[in-house]
Symmetry: C2
Subunit: 228 residues, 2 copies
């Protein structure tokens, strides 16, 4: 078995029937015309989806906003680059000479894109169940570090409880601005915490979403850190 | 069969084993606690993915950038709202009284979100193949309106051919600015068409991507419209 195939089997626990597909997934555009950018497109899409489903199943109580945030953290470029780097993916990326000389094997964007392309190749060759299992292995560490399902409450509830626990007044929400056509309005709201002299603003497609986001920003204020 | 189930079967060509799941998918948060926002999260993810795969298979020559643009057009909020509206989804959305009075049944964001939630329910109940088939039906019109695979060339090539066909000088690309750390650089480039006195600027994670985007913007200039 070629080194790339062995790497895939040993580090990612997968093997592909079509070894050409794996080579293409590992080939950066700088290396030649049979490169991995289309596989990266597919891999990005399938990875976002299988991670969404993993989170959907793991957090039956989490709100849409929490699921979205968890996913954004897991599949961000930086997070993917870190996973790829930990797997030693850089050694198997096929780069053009210029990229090679300028350290492309360790470049975060190349590592992240190549990992997505490998996921795309696994999907094409092995199907959805194998891809989902691969994602669960790739993100096992990050998934384990996420909060317990029971700890999750929506931001407004958490903020209210935090304030009540300290005998402080409840937050005051106000709509600062409503923009857009009636069928596609945007709401800009402000959340004021009088007792702490802090406030946050946020925007959303509904008043409720904007309020949740504003509450979340208050919760992320250094003045409240550790209290969540 | 209840009206919602009949609508799903007659207009979307699907039926679910779990009728409660369909009701939840149709329930806006304003209606009550058992609402569709989590299903919307899952549906958005699976829809983005199955549309990505449809495009990946339908356009073997298309670049990643073209596939991304096609998909963004198909699954944008406005496009989804249009599809949902054409299917008469508004009649089946379950809204709270306030939303109902303010015309929520026709609001684009509610229609788009609810359609995503229905897709999420179809995925949970019927699996990926049924979801992919549903997406192909939902977007049949839009997919048919996309350019033929053979017409697709990258933007720089199309721009060059357009100019050559009119005896004009080739475009001049120049890098205006390079920002960011060495491992995560951003390139800002300019594409000048001297013969027409027009230009466009664009940014990207590589010089090539920025040039392609700048070429695309020139192609979209009214001065060139109809020539693509």
């Amino acid at each position: 078995m070629d080194p790339a195939g062995r790497w895939l089997r040993e580090r990612l626990g997968c093997s592909l029937n079509d070894t050409g597909l794996l080579l293409r997934a590992l080939t950066h555009r700088s290396h030649g015309p049979d490169h991995n950018e289309r596989l990266e497109f597919l891999g990005d899409a399938v990875l976002s989806f299988v991670v969404a489903e993993l989170l959907f199943q793991a957090y039956p109580q989490a709100s849409e906003g929490e699921l979205s945030r968890f996913r954004a953290n897991l599949v961000s470029g930086d997070a993917l680059a870190l996973v790829a780097s930990g797997l030693g993916l850089g050694e198997h990326v096929r780069l053009g000479e210029g990229e090679l000389k300028s350290g492309g094997q360790q470049r975060a964007s190349i590592l992240a894109d190549t990992l997505e392309a490998v996921v795309g190749a696994v999907y094409l060759d092995r199907g959805l169940a194998a891809t989902s299992a691969l994602a669960a292995r790739l993100f096992a560490g990050q998934l384990a570090a996420l909060p317990e399902s029971a700890e999750l409450k929506d931001a407004k509830t958490r903020l209210q409880e935090w304030l009540q626990g300290r005998g402080l007044d409840l937050p005051a929400y106000s709509v600062l601005e409503t923009t857009g056509e009636p069928h596609a309005q945007r709401f800009r709201v402000r959340c004021d915490i009088a007792g702490l002299g802090i406030a946050a603003e946020a925007e959303g497609s509904s008043r409720r979403r904007a309020e949740q986001e504003a509450a979340l920003r208050v919760l992320e204020d250094p003045a409240l850190k550790g209290g969540r």
